[in-house]
């Protein structure tokens, strides 16, 4: 999905998207659908989940307002079917195959962020061909840039979200800080690094699907393509301590050589999501770990904390933000509940980028 990719704007052109989450409408698995409902609600025609049909997105996911949940493609009229889940491993559920074929035959394009590319599937490719439709695999890439330790433009401030774990709100935090800075008239850009972010923003790099030798380089090249902006809000991935995905996290950190980090976590989570025997390191441990590994490329500090209070009440969340802010000596907020003003202030307080590119 690099700058020259013709599908870049394509993704933003759909106006009647159907989000496929059939049988997987949980907050963890359906996070692609939920984020699209949150950030592109006007472009979403329906959610397809036969097990939840008749409901609305708002009642199913807590976002998306009146967007209906339908049982079949025949109940609504869409221009694209978006695969709305991000399962670990990234495979298409078997019972979705006829739904994908049916969407193509009804004249819809199909957009997927799965690791297994729909375009490489013979049956799907044939159906797309037959009906003159497109299969867009947003993770497909041919990144071949070896990072060169580029000195980025002074005056381009790079802010990366980092996490205690996967699925704690790194993308949302970057998007919300971007929203606040834009509202304040700042020249800021959100840089997507994952399939959902790319579906929202229309471009970016699917960094978790880049060949390992080019992970750092794909992040570096992403920055280079956008360094004319004053502030870049870079969507973080995984966690430096995640047993499965730390390679992605470090490649993104070293490749983008940020000037500041925002640490994201979910209040109350104590174990690695999906690896329930593995305890999460403390936030203080992670602040130290991120700053130490960052310093190997470009010294920078954690400048703020993004608290995900989805399992807490509003009152508990406020208390948690206060507690963690005092514990770590850093500004903290829940960007869903409070907006991201506090973190936007921290970004602006960073001042000019004086130690660009190490």
């Amino acid at each position: 999905m690099d700058a020259a990719d013709p599908s870049e704007s394509q993704l933003k052109r759909y106006r009647r998207i159907i989000l496929l989450t059939d049988g997987f409408s949980t907050p963890f698995l359906a996070k692609t659908a939920i984020s699209l409902l949150r950030y592109r609600q006007n472009d979403i025609a329906a959610v397809l989940d036969a097990t939840e049909a008749g409901s609305t997105s708002q009642s199913l996911f807590g976002t998306g307002g009146p967007v209906p949940v339908v049982a079949t493609l025949d109940q609504t009229d869409g221009d694209a079917l978006f695969i709305g889940i991000a399962p670990p491993g990234g495979r298409l559920p078997e019972h979705w195959r006829p739904i994908v074929v049916r969407a193509l035959s009804r004249g819809m394009d199909v957009v997927s962020g799965l690791h297994d590319f729909l375009g490489d599937d013979r049956e799907f490719a044939r159906a797309a061909d037959e009906h003159g439709r497109q299969l867009l695999d947003v993770r497909r890439n041919n990144e071949r840039h070896t990072a060169q330790h580029v000195q980025f433009r002074k005056g381009c401030r790079r802010i990366l979200t980092v996490g205690q774990d996967c699925s704690v709100g790194k993308m949302v935090t970057s998007l919300e800080i971007h929203r606040v800075l834009s509202e304040r008239g700042k020249d800021a850009k959100f840089l997507a690094t994952g399939q959902t972010g790319i579906m929202i923003a229309g471009d970016g790099v699917p960094i978790d699907c880049v060949v390992a030798d080019f992970v750092n380089g794909s992040a570096e090249a992403l920055i280079q393509r956008h360094e004319e902006h004053h502030i870049l809000l870079i969507e973080g991935q995984g966690s430096i301590s995640h047993p499965s995905f730390s390679a992605v996290t470090l490649g993104l950190l070293h490749g983008s050589a940020p000037d500041g980090l925002i640490l994201c976590y979910e209040a109350g989570r104590e174990l690695v999501k999906g690896l329930d025997q593995v305890p999460l390191p403390s936030l203080q441990t992670l602040v130290t770990a991120y700053e130490n590994v960052a310093a190997l490329r470009n010294p920078c500090r954690v400048i703020g904390i993004s608290v995900n209070g989805r399992n807490l009440s509003a009152e508990q969340t406020t208390a948690e933000c206060k507690r963690v802010s005092s514990e770590l000596g850093l500004p903290a907020c829940d960007v869903y509940r409070d907006g991201a003003d506090v973190l936007a202030d921290a970004v602006l307080a960073l001042g000019g980028s004086d130690h660009n590119g190490g």
Copy 2:
């Protein structure tokens, strides 16, 4: 190249290999050829480099004894042509295309470790087909294992080489420690993680070519396939501080969850190879960095130092080993000059693996 891959043993079956380094016979670029000469000398028929023809491998590379350097394929009789270089970025030099086609037409298989797969090249694929020969891309893989923070078998000691930089001798160090332990009758296995190591050992995982999300997992799966052994010597990759390749390094470190690390460096090198404006961190900085990031998965220590003295005299190398050993408080040796006994001792002194898998 996983355990089930039919080409696993295939690579070990060739007995008259021609190493192609034409125009690139420098120690840095031709490291694949040099390592094959060192570890599979009896299987090498010739080196092909028209610019150095008439020489021997020994005089060209300092290893390989009487293996001749030839100008064309017609001067010798081989069963396979091995691409003998590892250029950054991994592309085939343009003027080698007719040589590859010629090899196929002369009835040879062609083995490559480049990022750009020969098998995906239409002209090469057609030529291979026509002559009934094989194109073996050792970096080709379909790794799809998400790391699960596996508790490895107690009693399987995992030793990973790590580096101050690329191309400092991590593979050679692992191979030499393996050699010593085998000579002492220990049940040790060398695990290859790079294209050259795979060409030598016949199996392994080409970890720098794995899709980012599965880097940690491919290392974990590699260990699982071989954890019946008492000691695993795991070939390290890149460096935790390398601006281009740190993602690979960390994925391998967290996926293999080693019990001990051997830090490798080249005496006298002060700048990152290929990025000549970037200073290398000190060895002490790296010991700390490796131990700190390792602790996020499985606490372990650097237990020895492998000194690459290729730019020093024998006397200088001995002095350097003494100096660094005293500075870091760890055993140190040059495995080429001294053999790896000192490091093998350090591995054995580690004792049983009591903190397996964190």
